[in-house]
Amino acid sequence: MTQKKRISIKIAGAQGQGAGSGGQGLSKVLKRAGYHVFGVFDFMSLIKGGHSFYQISFSDQTIHANTEKFHILLCFDPQNTEETVADIETLNEGGLFFVDDAVVLKPEITVAIEKVGAKLCPIPMIRLGTEIGGNRIMGNTVGLGAIVGSLKIPFDFLDEVVQQNFAKKSKEIAASNSAVAKAGYDYGLSNFGDSFKFEMPNAKKEKTAGNMLINGNEAIAFGSYVGGCRFVSAYPMTPGTSVFEWFTKSNSKLGVVTKHTEDEIAAICMAIGAGQVGARAMTSTSGGGFCLMVEALGLAGMTEVPVVIVNAQRGGPSTGLPTRTEQSDLLFAINASHGEFPRIVLTPGTIEQCYEAGYRAHNLAAKYQTPVIILTDLLLSEQIKDTDPNFYQLPQIELGKVVSPAELDAMEEPYLRYKFTEDGVSPRALYGHPKSVHAPATDEHDETGHITEDATNRNRMMEKRMKKHESALQDIKGPEFFGAENASLTLIIWGSTYGAVREAVEIFNEDEKNKEKINLLHYSEVWPFPLEATNAALKKVKLGVCLEQNYTSQFARLLLSEAGYNVNYKLNKYDGRQFTPEEILVEVKRVFAESLVNSTK
């Protein structure tokens, strides 16, 4: 469909069989070999068993999402007949199906292979794994080797990755894995080296080999770290855990205090405690944990403590679909906690935006002395894409209005923690200086922080705090277009749907048959709502279609309540599976057809 040449690989297996790590390894091999790579892991809420898979696309151009069809399927779990048949059905005609040759395939599977016109590629995974590596589980490496061999990608790229991956363990383990990989490679090359009939994209090693393969959560963590984050307290919850684990895993190296707490209440409270004494602090969780943080969110809002909260959304409500993706916490995040106070909500849509959201969150929290929520989701957290390392730069660290010890020394009037100011932001002095003594209350307080119920002070304090909402607007990024300039239809989106929608826009616009063109308008920051930028952008929108991974069209409702804009169509998906470009195109065509009917009525 597209001029972007892409090859897609799926590695499927029961959980614990290594589809995830295999997919990550293979992605690295492909990238080093000169391809742009995109990968996502799809898994279930259990530890061993079930059925999960890793999807990789590689290309001569940057890829933003996987498409539905595959050219290669490596299957570790043919015993999961139903799932394997479904996987086979996503193979292109002529696609390769790799499976252990020792397995007697169920008739349903062979029928399915025949039906799609795929090629069965039996490989001695367990045998070679056991014979050469001395371990059944090394059969995985055989499988990966066979794929690389069948694609005729030089073995060195695979060898390097395998050796690197196992170098931590021991030289021997690395060497035997390398030998297993080679055996698989040779087997694949000699048996199926001519079977792969699809046109390969051009490899440009010099372009991609040095690129970084980093997932969304790693990018948020990394971005936060370079943004000055030095305190992270959290409680594990998929898919928020890996942001936290990025810090814990390299604890002493980074000089960051990390605390795995007893619950999410303690997680945010510790971060607020740290924030209140001057640390750039953060916590990371998912919806259920975010629920428990909501009271303390108000504490930070009221006492004006900078703190960053990552809420990595997953399928809800309640425990819901713990390992599936959804965008259903938007209005909750914007309205969470009783009473009213300013907050900032960032909704990155790409790996790069995750990195930016990381440091921007800490800068904005410090500048406006208020909580900042990064609303990401499972899809972004599990997604890797190769990125130019030059993109990752050390950002400017903004400390906001601070009163230094020297300034305190020189100060004549008493220090006022909540001084009324033009922009609502009061200069912040830390505890520990004789002239900065203060004791703020979560009750309404006066400029010093002392409790008061006085009505005039109350009004001024509310206005002071809410002024920060207005002030922060100047820093909020407006939505960005991608695609045709004068498109007849605009997909209005936020957060992680960017990838699939972007691919859909690219594919659609490339097709000469489509005379009308489409584009997308993406929000990576949503609160305070960027009204001016929105109004300017919406002027260019002819047919507005809001696409979201939720049921109740939360962003569309936000657009209406904040900008008075009523989108023409709403597209929703809420089964926990990511939107695919193909699905989006079907919907786009339907909308075009419908709107044509309506406009001629």
Binding site: E218, R230, S252, I265, A266, G273, G275, A281, A439, T442
Partner: protein, 300 residues
């Protein structure tokens, strides 16, 4: 606490606040505030060196009435916020202070977990055995049979036993004072401040508004100093302390009930503080170019 700051010569004047207290006349919180202040003075800790983190309740308003660093937060969450502050700036002498409902009802989980971590803070529980600020409901420390608006036929729960819970959870210092004896209590708080590790100090407190029976006379009769009654009491022995905790004669033993100096504190073991003890908030945020390059390289 391991007090790393230089001790100061301070007097009551330094702690005097302009803020008018809203406690009822005769409230035990006055005595607790005075005990705390005396302890700080005697320990040589100035208003700007300490951080009083409180929750919500009558007793939690204490930081509003004393001139010292404070943070009045959420009902039940003072302790965990205090621990966060402590980890980010261990130089501050960090004290969590709150009522019995706050500390032992809503907040007991944070107390238990931070005791077993041996977080190097002091936790003071202002125990009037009732919810004051919400107008007199029974609390987790209320006696069975105590009649309140939520227990008009008498409370039917067995009270939390702070000493027993502290021992079971692993507090390394457990003391008990009484608002009517500010000097005695000040001494306990001072020892808690000087203790390395989690120090739990329960202070029995009169509440003339909602716990009228347990007035000054009542406490005089119902409490005793453990070392006076048993000069051989060995506060280093957890079993003896647990026996004391289970002793059910309706009287409160007071003093230092337990002390363990052999457990490492949490902060001593935190990786980020192993090489340097400089508070993270005092360290430069600058990232060296080659360190940054290394971090990026891991993803290539």
């Amino acid at each position: 606490m391991v007090i790393t700051q230089e001790r100061q010569k301070v007097t009551a004047k330094d702690f005097k606040s302009e803020q008018k207290s809203t406690w009822c006349p005769g409230c035990g919180d006055f005595g607790i505030q005075s005990a705390l202040q005396t302890a700080l003075i005697n320990a040589g800790i100035a208003p700007w060196q300490v951080l009083l983190v409180s929750g919500i309740g009558c007793g939690s308003k204490l930081p509003d009435y004393i001139n010292a660093n404070g943070y009045m937060t959420l009902h039940g969450r003072g302790t965990t916020i205090a621990c966060g502050a402590h980890l980010a700036n261990p130089k501050l002498v960090t004290i969590s202070i709150g009522g019995d409902g706050d500390s032992l009802g809503m907040g007991i989980s944070h107390a238990v977990h931070n005791m077993r971590r041996n977080m190097d803070i002091v936790q003071i529980i202002e125990n009037n055995e009732v919810y004051g600020l919400t107008k007199g409901q029974y609390s987790p420390t209320s006696k069975r049979g105590f009649r309140t608006t939520t227990s008009p036929e008498g409370a039917i729960e067995f009270a939390v036993n702070p000493l027993a819970i502290g021992l079971a959870a692993g507090a390394t210092f457990i003391g008990r004072g009484y608002s009517g004896e500010p000097k005695f209590t000040a001494d306990i708080i001072q020892q808690a401040l000087e203790h390395k590790g989690y120090a739990l100090v329960e202070v029995l407190q009169t509440c003339p508004s909602y716990n009228k029976l347990q007035n000054t006379d009542w406490y005089k009769a119902q409490s005793y100093k453990v070392l006076e009654e048993n000069p051989n009491y060995n506060c280093q022995d957890p079993l003896q302390a647990f026996e004391l905790a289970l002793k059910d004669d309706g009287r409160y033993p007071m003093g230092i009930l337990y002390k363990n100096d052999n457990r490492p504190t949490y902060i001593e073991q935190v990786p980020a503080y192993k090489e340097s003890q400089t508070p993270i908030i005092e360290r430069s945020l600058k990232i060296e170019a080659d360190f940054f390059a290394n971090l990026k390289n891991a993803y290539v």
